[in-house]
Subunit: 339 residues, 3 copies
């Protein structure tokens, strides 16, 4: 795909300064973009790269326009404009509609003609698939699943019987939606399986990363709101509800029955214990452990930075006796004040 | 499935108080159950929901019976009775026996007529499958694998050549059993692969969650005992042995050659370093790091709760100098006592 | 495979002491090896097992030779010699070349006759596969992928369109290479997808463990150097570069755009935040959190060992007020020195 700079400016609502007819056909970083590419400045840390960029044009905020030696598109949100421009210039390839001869599709599955079922995929009985859906190679869609229009499953996704997926979702390879929640009742020394009878309901415009897992609910459904974005190897346990537009980076895990608000941000490897409530707009930095409900929006942290091993070892040894050390200190003060 | 209340009472050994002929056809929570459903009270925190429940009946301990406005089944372990009642009322669907025409089954694999091999599955040479086993869509069972009767593989499970799976196990989607352990010998700056020659032996009544991985042993076998329950994205490294009825919640990882006792409980995201021994009946709370062998039953913790970011930052900065701070404090006391 | 002890000594450059013609056909631990097996002593902790071993021979360092009651092969690196001997005695089975009739292979894929494409596998258009490559059962290789000679994919690996894999690599089951990086631009309360236009380039002799995920780059490529070894459930985010011969144990996660040096060692469940630079020869112990760039080779730690729950709870409570406690202590000293 290719466009003139003025076409991009109009399409994405930016002010244009410079050659309106400049042809743009791809994107690049400030450091590596060629003269046919559009780049962006979103993080001020990279401001110094502006002066030497070979990009054809740069998307940036008004305040940086004067530092840029090449034509600019001015926006208050350059990264979002960049994202849309990149989508426009590099459209996601859409496979030809049709059902590969090696796929296994149940006779009563409902598939519009615009759907693509790739090689070795399986579609179960009673499943309803929306317009322009893509089921990737080797994916398994169970019985009585519902998939909204425009949703794309990468190769080797599994949707267990009965799950309900919204429109325009993207599921990356290895995603499992609707596997049994982890429920067992102890009886003497062994465990009795608690049947997991709920399902999973996923809203529109949800993206789920490679090898992430979302369990079905125990009695009611596990729910993922509209616009939620999950990275790779995320784990969502049974009965969890994730509010709209919440985003979770890789290796994040949410334990059972925890309710998460809207627009929350989980910064990677964040783990949340079960049965909590997390309010809207909570932000968790990398590798935090959430053991209590969060009732106030804001940023929360919970990771200790690694240190040189011998230094860490000494500090960790002190931590093992921290309570005693603080008591000692207090008792000294009490003694002193008692003098 | 449907039953009268008295039939459930007799089947599960409970005392019945109320309408013996009440028909029960499903289950529900105290808050949402309808009059055809049976509910339960296992966690005293939900006791207040008893008075307004619309459930047809409730399974509970004797001491709560008087608070319940509807018929009750009395048990000293209401959650286990609920689990069994739910299994009875909502039996796990069993696919019709047979081999899907799209499956690839080795000519010399041993399969009773009661087995179901689903679409796109693969069964290797010399493999022996027990009665009523289900091999889910797209699952790959290697050569010389043994699977005990009644075991069910969900879609897209992988059992590598030679692994041995017990009876009545459930393997959820994405599970990998028998992949190579992680063994390399350093030689100058590069690594020489140490062949992983052992296998994996899994006992009876084991359940393994979605996308969990269990490596084969280096020389001897990795062993998972009877009745073990593993949640999603659990990692079991080579040569590990897990004792009977131990349970591990999601994201738990056990490093190589660690030996784990019976009836242990891992509360989610617990990580255990290699070559340890964990005794029977050890309990680990959420996101603990286990760096030393555990010789005494009991509960162990290891996670710091996240805090507001600015508060956390100040405390974490102090931790970085904790050893010095405690030394300082002690030296003050020594000076004082030296006066 | 079988060999005399002298053949092994010559092949692997060891000094032989004992019966040169002793036939060796397999390997074993000092405790369990039979008289036809060769064992090794690499970890001095197992030295006491030498005196009672039933092994046919033992590979060890010169200084332990006198303690060994059976023939020995002497090496300064017994573990590497053991690894090579085990590879020699137990060669990895190589499937017969050929394309299984159930596989789906694009007409224009380039496959030498020595390649094995297993049951239910998929190979996409324009893909080039080297000599003696094995594509495991149910694996999906996308379009325009390149795979170097001798590389083996276990069952159910996914290589997304365009990725480039070197020679003699091993990808275990469930590995996903080339899934989209996690990039979104915030716009009001929702997120705009940033197209992930780069790919993944993997060097020679790389091994990747079960269910690990490696994302493609945003604009440029994610790069894994020669000889890198990744264990199970490792996550490599977009734009990461991993230097040659670096090794990462299970559950390790590297966030986006982090650059990792050569010969680093990640001890399992290590998590690294994004946009860092880690120098060559850095070693991280189990479950460390890396929040800052590392510029000096050496060993770094970051995990607190779990403790008895009540003791941990008291220490963790003190940590929550650590900054205040240290301030208190300091203020006492200032008051004292002010007296």
């Amino acid at each position: 795909m290719s466009a003139t700079l003025v076409e991009l400016a109009e399409r994405f609502g930016c002010e244009l300064r410079g050659d309106a007819e400049l042809p743009i056909s791809n994107v690049g970083t400030l450091l590596s973009a060629s003269s046919s590419a559009i780049s962006f400045l979103a993080n001020p840390a990279y401001r110094s790269q502006l002066s030497t960029t070979n990009a054809g044009a740069v998307i940036l905020e008004e305040r940086y326009a004067q530092d840029c030696p090449v034509p600019v598109l001015i926006s208050s949100n350059p990264y979002a404009v960049y994202a849309r421009a990149a989508q426009f210039l590099h459209p996601r390839p859409v496979p030809e509609p049709g059902i590969d001869s090696s796929a296994s599709v149940a006779a009563d599955a409902i598939l519009p003609k615009s759907v693509r079922i790739c090689a070795q995929a399986v579609v179960g009985a009673g499943t309803r698939i929306g317009e322009s859906v893509v089921i990737g190679e080797g994916s398994v869609v169970g019985d009585n699943v519902s998939i909204g229009e425009g949703t794309q499953l990468a190769p080797r996704v599994v949707l267990i019987d009965g799950v309900d997926i919204g429109k325009r979702c993207i599921m990356h390879s290895g995603v499992i939606v609707g596997s049994d929640g982890f429920g067992f009742a102890r009886d003497q020394e062994s465990w009795v399986k608690v049947p997991q009878l709920g399902s999973v309901v996923i809203g529109d415009d949800v993206e789920i990363g490679a090898n992430s897992t979302i369990d079905c609910g125990t009695i009611e459904d596990t729910i993922i709101g509209d616009g939620v974005k999950l990275d790779n190897q995320v784990q969502i346990a049974h009965n969890v509800r994730v509010g709209a537009h919440t985003i979770m980076s890789a290796l994040t895990g949410i334990s059972g029955s925890t309710i998460i608000g809207k627009r929350c941000m989980f910064g990677g490897a964040v783990v949340v214990v079960g049965h909590l409530t997390i309010c809207d707009d909570a932000v968790f930095t990398f590798h935090s452990t959430i053991l209590q409900s969060i009732t106030e929006p804001g940023t929360y942290s919970g990771a200790l930075s690694a240190d040189k091993a011998n230094r860490w070892r000494r500090n960790a040894a002190r931590f093992k006796n921290l309570d005693e050390a603080v008591r000692d200190q207090r008792s000294v003060r009490v003694e002193e004040s008692g003098d």
